[in-house]
């Protein structure tokens, strides 16, 4: 079971890191174009 658990955790870490990165990138773009929540914060 232990190897499976490690594989599962690695997959989750990958998914999480990717999503987090996309989130940050979207915030940057929103800031640049002044759209949405993070864009409005700046204004």
């Amino acid at each position: 079971m232990l190897p499976l658990l490690i594989v599962a955790l690695l997959i989750w870490a990958g998914v999480f890191a990717f999503t987090f990165r996309v989130d940050q990138r979207l915030s940057q773009l929103e800031n640049r174009f002044g759209v949405g929540e993070s864009g409005k914060d700046r204004e």
């Binding site: 079971m1 987090f20 979207l26 174009f33 759209v35």
Partner: protein, 218 residues
């Protein structure tokens, strides 16, 4: 605040994954008790998928009834995409489970069939969208389709079990450990759904904004 929630979701899901392997006891009464742990992934996926499917219908309704806001159409689309992903994962984990426990990947079990038909409906939804150029027309047509499907699918859920024999246990009493893990995993996956939904909608909003800029330039 929002960043904190995301990090908590990441850690929480990691803990639930670890729990489902280490804390969850092997389920007695199944041909392969050790591998029955996949239900801790299978059921929460189904729940997140159904939440997403209902959300797709609700945003379709909001588009038609609430002033035809293009963002509502985008929300409906994003929810439909996520529903497709979660339901596909439900089907795959279900098939693995069925192979291990009942010796067959596919056996036309009612729940299996219902989820597969839901997947077909979403596939048809995407094909329908792909066939329409005009954005407003596309939004209206796909909202009407998803609402029509939303009315017809409860009928499906009611009727199909009448005709197909079920292999799904109806009277299983999961013990407390299973309850804890399945419900916390559902909470995690629904949280993940909310996060991905937020990202998808923000992406679509950005796209709509940039499209408008490009259109307005001479």
């Amino acid at each position: 605040m929002a960043q904190l929630a995301k990090i908590l979701l990441g850690i929480g899901t990691a803990i639930v994954v670890a729990l489902s392997f280490l804390y969850l006891p092997a389920a007695e009464g199944f041909p392969s008790p050790e591998l029955a742990r996949i239900v801790a992934l299978h059921l929460p996926n189904a729940m997140a998928g159904l939440v997403a499917a209902v959300a797709a219908g609700c945003y379709g309704w909001r588009y038609l009834a609430g002033g035809r806001n293009p963002l509502d159409d985008a929300r409906s689309l994003v929810a439909a995409v996520l529903a497709t992903i979660f339901l596909a994962l439900t089907t795959v984990t279900g098939m693995v489970f069925a192979q291990v426990q009942w010796g067959q990947f596919w056996n036309w079990d009612p729940k299996q069939t219902c989820i597969f038909i839901l997947l077909l409906i979403f596939a048809a939804y995407f094909v329908l969208r792909a066939g329409i150029e005009d954005e407003e027309k596309r939004a209206t047509v796909s909202a009407v389709y998803i609402l029509f499907a939303a009315v017809m699918t409860p009928v499906l859920g009611y009727m199909v079990p009448k005709y197909l024999p079920s292999l799904h246990p109806t009277n299983t009493s999961f013990d407390a450990a299973y309850h804890t893990v399945i419900w916390s995993a559902s909470a995690c996956l629904i949280g993940l759904y909310a996060w991905l939904f937020n990202l998808g909608v923000r992406y679509e909003r950005l796209r709509l904004h940039l499209d408008a800029i490009v259109r307005d330039e001479p």
